[in-house]
Structure formats: C-alpha cells, structure tokens
C-alpha cells in the first residue's frame, strides 16, 4: 500500500511539474481582455500584443478561429520585426508559416505581405462574424484571462484563467489547456461528468491527460462517489477509483507503457510493458503485471511474447508467462495462406493455473487447427480442436465442418437466397470411458427486395427455414415469414408495419409437437420539421388476440439549444406504464448538460457530458 501511495505521489508530482513547465509556443497572446469559447473554439481579444517568435504585433482587437485556422487582428495594427515595422488597419496571418498580409484602408485598399511567400491572406466573413464578445459570453463553457499561448499542435493554454459556465463565473486556473489540438484530444485537467443519483450519490469523473511530441502520452482518470449524502446508504460512505496509463515512445521502434489502477475497496493492479519492433517483421513484448484482488493474495506475472511475420511463409507467434507461485501460461500459433483463397491457422496453448486459493493446479492443453476456403459462390471451413485436462485426465476433441453459400440473387435481384450448414462432432474421453455426440444445423433464407406497390408504399417479404438434427434425437424444424411494409402518409409522417409468423416443430420418434407465434407491429415515424422528431409503436399478438407493448420516443427542441426528449414504454399484459425516461438537454457546442429522470430506477440525474 505504501508503494502505491508513493506511486500516486510520483504521478501527482509529475503532473504538477508538467503543469508548471513552460513549453514552446507558436503564438503568445497578452491583452487587457482575452476570451476563449470552448463551444465555438474561438478566441477574442482586446488591446492585445501578439508574440510570434521573430514578430511582435499590437492591435485593438484579435479574432482567432482555431477550427478554420483564421487569425485576424484589427484596429491600429502595428507589426514589428527585426529591421522593420509597419502600421496598418488589419492583419490576417498564419503563425505556422510566419507570414501574413496587412491591409490599409486609404484612397485604395493597400495590402503588403509580411514574412515568407507571396500568398495574400484574407479572412472570410463567415469565419469571423461569430467571434464576438456576446457569442463567447453566451457559450456554455468559456474562459477569460490576460495571457494565452497557442502551441504548435493548436492546443491553447491559458494562464491565470477563469472558467465561465453558461456565463456564470466558476473556477480559476493558474494554467489550463483550454482547447484540444487536432491530434491530441483534450489535454490538461478535465471535468468529464458530475451527476447525482439516488443509488450512487454524488458522482464526479475527472481526468488529466498529457501528450508531448508523440513521445509521451499519459492519461489519469478519477471517479469519486460520495454516498454519505444518501438517506438509506448501507455501504461505504465514499468510494474512489484512480486509473492511470502512461506510454513513452523511447524510439520509433520501441515504446514503454506503465499502467496502474486503484479502487478504495482495496483492489489494485499495476503493469509494465516494453514493446520492441525488429525490422518491421519481428515484434517482441516484455511485460510485468501485479494484480491484487479484494481479500485474496495478489499475483505477479512476468511475460514475454514475440511474433515473426514471414510474409508468404506465414506468421508465427509465441508467448509465455510465469507467475511467482509457479503458475505458467504458454502459447504458440501459426497462420498462413497456403494457396489462393485457402488459409490455415494452427494454435496451441498450455496453462498451469492454481485452483482457487488451494495448493492444487489445473493443467490444460488446448490445440486448434483450421483450414478454410473462400470463393465467390461459397465458403468452406473445417476445424479441429483438442482440449486436454492433464490433471483431470479428460480429453475433448471436436472436429467441425461449415459450409455456407454466399447470397444468390434471382430474377434481376428480386429474390435473394442463402444457405448454410454446420456439422459439429464432440468426443469426450475420461479415463477409460468415452462418449460422443454430434449435431447438424441447416438454415435457408429467401428474401425479396422492396416492391413499390403504389406511390409511397413499399413491401418486402423474408422467409426462413432451419433444420436441427442431433444424436440425442432432440431434433426440430422451424420456419417463419416476416413481412414489412412502409407507407409515406404526408410530409414528415411515415407508417411502418411488420407481420411475423414463426413456427417450431419438434420431432421425437413418432411424436411431433410444436409451437407457433404471431406478431403484428405498427410504427409511426414523425419528423414534420427539424425541431420535432420521434416515433411511436404498438405490437399485437393475433394468436391470443392481445396487445403487447407500446413505445413512444419523442424529441422536441422547444427553444433554441434546449431539447426535450422522452422515452415511454407501456406494457398491455401488465396493464401499466413500465418506464418513462425524461430528458431535458441543453446543447452547448461541444458539451451537453442533461437533466434526466428515469422512472424505472427512480433516478434523477444531472449530467455534464462532453460531446
């Protein structure tokens, strides 16, 4: 346990050091006012200075659309570089290229290029018009501050930054990654979800992610449940789970991974892995893992695995693991393409594993061989598996043969048929006794493509047949038909119907017994305008002359960015409403705030979910 805490302290210390570290920047922005909208992925600034190594710019306003890579400075713009300075009204620039175009509105519109190349940079109206103080203020998640750095991976770091949620001032951060680079995902500290429910209490999910130059990738996640708030809580007052995974790319052909998970109910595990590639054809992994379940002894495993890709000669993989208490696992596999469309797979494994907490071990050997042939018309595969329990002296062998015809179409695609057959034979040998069993399953299906009967009306029919035979004589034949129609009623309204008839007949000697079932379902889909969509369905059992289930799924955007969504299920057999789920959703760009009520579990949830 002490080691785990030391590990956590180490992770935290690295986290703090990473947070405190000043990385290289592409653009350093300082201003009297800077704001970033997470929803829109844009930056707005006033009275700004912009430092791009080699260039220094001042301007009255700054607008950056990170998604569309537009950088605009306007009003009293001054661009300075070593040996030059130019005043202008506007500047549109590309910090990666270190070049841009300044515009001066005089007798004519005068433009000069700054930096490399002759490209004229312009900002389109649609890229800039949404970058306003009002829009950022209305964003669900936004930040304000006086100092932001944009990195080469287009992640935006804010210093002494304040978070605003739906316009309300929230936490302050000394340093925080405000945006996500296109390749990095969300870097920095993230609050993924907070919700309250009657069964779990107050639940918080947070994470910390860091990635640097594709050399280091680290993710730590924390889930915390505070249950002492619950009235009838009988379990632990609180519980937390920490999961951490870090990967270092030591070289192009070698990486090192560390993982660690801890649950406050005294359950933890840790892992270490080195992965090395040798000339792209050979790959080797060396790993160590320790797993400590609740109330029983932990297990420490050391393993080595390697795969050799021999091209046309096939691929061989070998693996072995040893545990400190004399447990062993080993495996060997070979896969190759023998001829065109003919594939061979052979595997073998051996395991010596402790039986529970006793001092006894099970010793199992498993071997499989498979040969398959695939063509345009059919696929044929044969496989043989052998399981030997060396301790219990049991041997199970199982050959099987599978044949399937690829779907065949007739009458210009009007009908499609498919057929498949599986045969399995089992032989179990124990001491001197042996018993065998076999089964054969044949299935056939025939379907029509959709017929257009009249305007807006489609119909299709599917038939299926199955025959199952086995040594014990529990044979059966089943068949069924499913008919589906679809009728457009008027704009935004569509009716769908299903009729299903299924029959299953069991034959045992002279006795034939069986069951049949019928189902009729109708679904009405509605989408009369963008803000309203949903469907409702009802199912009916003609055999018993009884309605079964009814569902309603409705989604309505009742005011801008606010959506009401409900799922209702009514059970006619029990004559009651089975479940009602009600969602009130606030769309906020890359976030959703959801208020949820679920009648089945009597839960009320508030969720903040990144999209």
């Amino acid at each position: 346990m002490r080691k785990l805490f030391l590990l956590l302290i180490g992770i935290c210390a690295v986290g703090v050091l990473i947070l405190q570290a000043e990385d290289k920047y592409l653009v350093r922005i300082k201003g009297e006012f800077l704001a970033y909208s997470y929803d829109l992925n844009v930056v707005y600034g006033e009275m700004v200075s912009i430092d791009i190594p080699g260039y220094f710019i001042t301007a009255k306003t700054l607008k950056i659309n990170i998604s569309s890579n537009i950088y605009y400075a306007g009003g009293d713009v001054v661009v300075e570089w070593e040996g030059g300075k130019i005043p202008a009204d506007e500047l549109v620039f590309d910090p990666k290229e270190k070049s841009g175009t300044v515009f001066i509105y005089d007798q004519t519109i005068i433009s000069y290029n700054v930096g490399k190349g002759d490209r004229i940079y312009t900002a389109k109206r649609k890229d800039l018009e949404k970058i306003t103080v009002e829009n950022i203020k209305k964003s669900f998640v936004s930040f304000t501050g006086r100092h932001m750095d944009l990195k080469a991976d287009l992640s935006l770091i804010g210093y002494d930054i304040t978070l605003f949620m739906a316009g309300l001032r929230s936490l302050g951060f000394k340093k925080h990654t405000l945006t996500e680079g296109p390749k990095l995902g969300i870097a920095g500290f993230t609050l993924d979800k907070i919700w309250f429910s009657k069964s779990e209490g107050l639940v918080t999910k947070a994470g910390f992610r860091y990635e640097k130059s594709q050399k280091l990738n680290s993710t730590t996640q924390l889930r915390y449940e505070e249950r002492s708030l619950l009235k009838d809580n009988t379990g632990l007052d609180r519980q937390f789970l920490v999961m951490s995974s870090t990967t270092f790319s030591l070289r192009d052909d070698m990486r090192l991974s560390l993982t660690g998970n801890y649950n406050s109910s005294s359950l933890w595990n840790a892992g270490f892995l080195i992965d090395k590639s040798w000339k792209e054809r050979v790959q080797t992994q060396l790993n160590f893992s320790y797993n400590k379940p609740v109330n029983i002894d932990g297990e420490a495993w050391f393993g080595l695995s390697s795969s050799i890709n021999g091209g046309k000669y096939g691929t061989v993989a070998v693996s072995g693991k040893v545990e400190l208490k004399n447990q062993v696992m080993a495996g060997l596999s070979y896969a190759a393409q023998l001829l065109k469309n003919v594939n061979l797979v052979l595997t073998g494994s051996y395991a010596r594993i402790k039986i529970g907490q006793s001092e006894s071990y099970s010793k199992l050997f498993t071997g499989t061989g498979g040969l398959s042939y695939g063509s345009k018309l059919f696929n044929l595969s044969t496989a043989y598996s052998l399981n030997i329990d060396l301790a219990g002296e049991q041997v199970l062998s199982q050959p099987q043969l599978r044949l399937s015809l690829n779907p065949v179409t007739f009458y210009g695609g009007l009908l499609t048929a498919s057929l498949s057959n599986n045969f399995i034979y089992n032989k179990l040998k124990k001491d001197v006794e042996s018993e065998d069993a076999y089964s054969n399953n044949t299935s056939f299906s025939l379907g029509t493509k959709a017929f257009h009967l009249w305007k807006g009306m489609e119909l299709n029919v599917n038939l299926s047949l199955e025959q199952f035979l086995e040594k014990e004589g529990r044979n059966f034949t089943s068949g069924g038909i499913i008919t589906r129609f679809q009728q457009s009623l008027f704009k935004g309204f569509q009716l769908e119907g299903f009729y299903s008839y299924q029959s299953r007949r069991r034959t045992r000697g002279w006795l034939i017994e069986g069951t049949m079932s019928e189902d009729v379902s109708l679904i009405l889909k509605v989408n009369p305008f963008d803000r309203l969509s949903g469907w409702t369905s009802v199912s009916y059992d003609p055999k018993n002359n009884q309605f079964r289930q009814s569902y309603l799924n409705l989604s309505l955007e009742f005011i801008r960015k606010w959506k009401f969504h409900t799922l209702v299920n009514y059970d006619f057999l029990l004559n009651k409403l089975n479940n009602i789920d009600v969602y009130l959703i606030r769309e906020a760009g890359r976030f959703q705030l959801r208020f949820i009520y679920r009648s089945l579990s009597k839960q009320f949830l508030v969720e903040l979910v990144p999209r």
Binding site: V16, F33, G172, F173
Partner: protein
C-alpha cells in the same frame, strides 16, 4: 487507518490540483460592446427616436437606388466619432464620410443609430464585391462586404 489513507489521498489530490486550480484569480471585465450592429440595408425607419434598418441584405441590384450601411452603438459614454469608407470591386475608394461626431462624451447614451449610403446605378457602380469599413475614433472597428449584381 482507512480514514487516514483517505485523508492522505485527498491531500495528495489537493496538492495535485493546486498546481492548476486557483480561487483567487480576478478575471478581466467583459468589455462593453459598442458596435451592436453594422450591416447593409435598403432603407431605415424611425421608431422611438432611434433608427431601425429595413431590407437588410448583403446582395443588392444595380436597379436599386441606395445601399445603406447602418450602425447601432450601445452604451456610449465617451467622446465618439464615426467614419464610413466605401471601396469598389477594384479596391478603390468611392466614398469617405470623414469624421462624423456622434457623442461629445458629456452624457451616457444607451443607444446610438446612424447610417451612411451610396447611390447605385449600372453606370456609376459596376457589379462586384464592395467593402465598407467603419472607423470609431479613427480606429478601424468593423468591415462588411456586399455584392452588387
């Protein structure tokens, strides 16, 4: 012992989070939004001593008479002057209003509306993309474009 571990872990998490979370940061004030609207329209009408744009668009025809560049400012309390500059498809200036005083800064104005306009005709204003730039107190504030067909 378990409580001690929990406290210890919370201290660690607090140390960890203290590296990035602070409760003492004073955020900069959200700036006053002076330019509430800057857009093109065909006409204006007066409602309660303020102007409202009529026929807002960014595509106009040479058969129309005028194109207006309408501006609405809010929360004006300082000395303020406006200047409209109009540029044709070739980037040449076709009209400059010069500095137009709007407020002398002696009183607070909740809203100010104003416009400038150019006459359009096939002879004087050929089809193409036109740019109108608004300067406030001599500094470029907003730029909008319209198409003349």
């Amino acid at each position: 012992m378990k409580n001690l571990r929990l406290r210890f872990l919370f201290i660690i998490m607090a140390v960890f989070l203290s590296g990035c979370i602070s409760f003492r940061i004073a955020p900069p004030d959200w700036p006053d939004k002076n330019v509430d609207a800057f857009l093109f329209c065909r006409d204006v009408k007066e409602i309660e001593s303020l102007l409202e744009p009529v026929g807002t668009d960014d595509v106009f025809s040479t058969e129309e008479t005028f194109v207006l560049a309408f501006v609405r400012l809010k929360d004006v309390s300082e000395k303020l002057s406006l200047r409209w500059k109009w540029y044709g498809p070739q980037g040449n200036e076709i009209r400059d209003t010069g500095e137009v005083p709007v407020s002398d800064g002696t009183r607070y104005l909740e809203a100010v509306t104003a416009y400038d306009r150019i006459g359009v005709s096939l002879e004087k204003t050929p089809p193409g993309e036109y740019i109108t730039v608004l300067f406030i107190n001599g500094t470029l504030s907003s730029k909008i474009t319209f198409n003349l067909r």
